[in-house]
């Protein structure tokens, strides 16, 4: 490595101040950039939700390289000390090796100290006091507030919740500023200023994150099989990739679709994918765009693509289509007719699309993804990456839904929350070997994801109250960005309350709330409408009675003692639903089941679980 001579020094700790959005993408992005540049990174503490990540790197050159690509790190500091209290911090800073500090505080170096706080506004007087407290540092140079050689930052972290700001910070850091990340690209490449956009153009920040996960580097061939308006190509070209995009939609590629910009009536003649690249001076990275059907690839079977980065249509805003016809029989002479019309048209309108517009049939999501993976397995070079979005219905999601291929290895899977019900997951796959024989992609994703559109609209038919109830269950931060793992946790606490009641549930009272925390969680559900008891893979339940006990105004009383209204029996599980009349302030405390006709099937599942599920 070029910086080996510097690396004789011991590795140092660096503080990465990350952007407080797209939290799930943060670590995958950093790891991708680090592996692309061969930068060894040691993670000092387990990355958490808070925007500070401490890592150990060999030298400052590595840190700067990392920052030259990162969209999700705001700035990078060489960490001089950290602590939960000021005393701890200062004792740490004092023990920071003087030989690391000295060169930056030497007489010829100008310096400044900045005090910054996360989630709190500090008063000038407080800031000054904090700067004064650092006077034990061996400053020898002059102060320069504009162009200082050395910028020391005093950073205080007051948590993420703007509604409960503590009086003293959770964490304090002192560090020397090293480099800024690439967040300015977000504004520079904003879609607001982009020449040609459509209804599903990719947000600039996400497009850059995708290209980072795909490790696009100068001189590589990057392809987008669902190119649309080419928003992903712009980011890939910015990092030096040579871009090739294709799409089935002739009108989109020729920029003849209806404009999506507010107040724009007609597409301008200058709008095109190529003009988007020209806008940023990236036209030299443009290979071509092609009208093509992903279900019928027309590529020579050679691996020539370094990265495939794409956002397939979900069938919500953009339809999923491929060429085909539902008709079984058709005149056989048609093919020849069409070829002749194409060749005999007049020269000035040689091949206008109106000659024939092939009919399209719906292209199910599972096929979209399987074709994409198969294409990637053949045409990516070994080590090349495929990065794509997978739309999911959050309640149904499980890891098995990610389409897979024996030649592609899953690298990362990060969620971006779209609505309370739906999200999309950015999947990063890496090609490990060339496919042999008939190896093809497996799309177990199929059934659930294929219903995405249906479920998406079904969800939008919910009443306001129902939606409100679900919202409290899936907290979203202010910007609506996904805090996926936190949500997963919340989901487990509230949705399924698992009880260790097996075969004998006759007349047994099943405690729904075993701990106070669960009690609170259920309380949050507010509008409990349906309570269902499901005997998962164990038994068949017929005509059992369920009643719920509620806690109204802290007085324990039965809010309902209802009987079964509906019994659903399926092959492997049976669930019994009934409507309870719980109201907003009721707390559901217990649920009793008087199922005298509950039949347990020990062969199927000897341990048999009885789950009470609170449906909304």
């Amino acid at each position: 490595m070029s910086c080996s001579h510097k690396c004789i020094e011991a590795a140092r700790k660096y503080l990465l101040w990350c952007a407080n959005e797209h939290v799930e993408f943060r670590i995958p992005e950093l790891k991708s950039i680090a592996s692309m540049f061969n930068i060894p990174i040691k993670w000092i503490d387990k990355p958490k939700e808070d925007p500070y990540v401490i890592v150990e790197m060999r030298c400052e050159a590595d840190a700067k390289k990392l920052m030259s690509r990162s969209l999700l790190v705001r700035s990078c500091y060489e960490l001089w000390g950290e602590g939960s209290t000021e005393a701890e911090l200062h004792s740490n800073v004092r023990s920071f090796p003087a030989e690391f500090m000295k060169p930056h505080l030497a007489p010829e170096k100008t310096f400044k100290v900045r005090v910054e706080a996360f989630n709190k506004t500090l008063k000038i007087a407080d800031k000054l006091a904090k700067i004064e407290a650092l006077e034990y540092l061996p400053f020898e140079g002059h102060v320069d507030l504009k162009n200082a050689d050395t910028c020391l930052h005093f950073i205080e972290y007051y948590g993420l919740d703007p509604n409960s700001i503590p009086t003293t910070p959770y964490k304090i850091f002192v560090g020397r500023w090293v480099a800024e990340g690439q967040r300015e690209l977000i504004g520079r490449f904003s879609l607001k200023k982009r020449h040609y956009i459509g209804s599903t153009s990719m947000d600039a920040q996400l497009a850059f994150i995708m290209t980072n996960l795909a490790q696009v580097q100068s001189g590589e061939v990057v392809a987008d099989p669902f190119v649309g308006t080419g928003s992903i190509l712009v980011s890939a070209a910015y990092w030096g990739g040579h871009v090739w995009g294709w799409d089935i939609d002739f009108l989109t590629l020729h920029a003849r679709t209806k404009p999506t910009r507010h107040s724009q009536k007609q597409r301008l003649s200058c709008e095109s994918i190529a003009s988007n690249l020209e806008q940023y001076g990236l036209e030299r990275h443009y290979l071509d765009v092609t009208v093509m059907d992903n279900a019928k690839p027309v590529w020579r079977d050679v691996p020539f693509i370094d990265a495939i980065i794409t956002d397939p249509p979900y069938g919500i805003r953009e339809s999923t289509e491929r060429v085909g016809s539902l008709k079984v029989s058709r005149p056989s002479s048609y093919n020849q007719d069409n070829t002749t019309t194409t060749t005999t048209t007049t020269p000035h309108t040689p091949y206008s699309p109106s000659n024939h517009y092939p009919s399209k049939v719906s292209y199910s999501l599972s096929h979209v993804f399987c074709d994409l993976l198969n294409f990637a397995a053949i045409h990516l070079i070994i080590g090349g990456r495929l990065v794509f979005w997978l739309p999911v219905f959050r309640e149904d999601y499980h890891d098995g839904m990610i389409p897979s291929h024996p030649c592609l290895e899953l690298m990362y899977n990060c969620e971006q929350v779209l609505t309370v019900h739906s999200s999309r997951r950015l999947i990063t796959l890496r090609k490990i070997r060339h496919p042999t024989g008939e190896e093809t992609a497996i799309g177990q994703v199929a059934d659930l994801t294929a219903k995405f559109r249906e479920r998406f609209f079904q969800a939008s038919l919910m009443t306001k109250d129902e939606r409100q109830a679900i919202k409290s269950q899936f907290p979203r931060d202010k910007r609506g960005q996904g805090l996926g793992y936190r949500l997963e946790e919340a989901k487990n606490q509230t949705k399924m309350v698992r009880m260790d009641v097996a075969a004998k549930c006759e007349d047994s009272v099943i405690p729904v709330c075993e701990t106070t925390r669960q009690k609170e969680e259920i309380n949050k559900l507010n509008n409990v409408k349906t309570v269902s008891v499901a005997m998962c893979e164990t038994s068949v339940m017929t005509g059992c009675e369920i009643s719920t006990l509620g806690n109204n105004d802290n007085n324990e009383k039965a809010i309902t003692t209802n009987v079964t209204t509906e019994c659903v029996t399926r092959d492997e599980s049976a669930c019994c639903r009934h409507e309870s009349s719980a109201t907003r302030n009721d707390t559901l405390t217990s649920l009793s089941c008087t199922g005298n006709q509950v039949l347990h099937n020990p062969d199927k599942n000897p341990e048999g679980e009885l789950n009470a599920r609170v449906d909304l």
């Binding site: 030299r284 590529w299 020579r300 020539f304 092939p358």
Partner: protein, 117 residues
């Protein structure tokens, strides 16, 4: 890179014959690294055939010479034919069925009709 093998009964469908009605020459900065990376991915005969079709064969050799990575002169010529010669209007023709794929505004349309797939 493109073939017509999507058509029923077409086995290889490569190389497609380019019929250029309107060709534009654009100026693009030379990137030696990219071109030398790209060359081994291409089918040389197909490239020469394509260059002939658009009338830019010039003095490209019929076989790929050894040590092309360091032959800047050759790489510059390849750069020109690969990136700077752009077919604006024309068509690509399948060698087996003579099915033509139109190119308009520099965008080839490889879509097949529903009865051809």
């Amino acid at each position: 890179m493109l073939t017509s093998k999507g058509i029923k009964n077409v086995k290889e469908g490569f190389p497609l014959k380019i019929q250029a009605d309107e060709v534009k020459n654009v100026d693009i900065d030379f990137d030696q690294d990219f071109i030398s990376k790209m060359v081994p991915k291409l089918d040389w005969n197909a490239l020469i055939f394509a260059a002939q079709c658009v009338g830019h064969k010039e003095d490209l050799p019929d076989t790929l010479p050894e040590g092309y990575e360091n032959d800047e002169d050759l790489l510059r010529k390849l750069h020109h034919i690969l990136l700077e010669v752009e077919v604006i209007n024309g068509c690509l023709e399948c060698p087996e069925t003579q099915r033509k794929f139109p190119i308009s505004n520099g965008i080839p349309n490889m879509l097949l009709n529903e009865d051809e797939v």
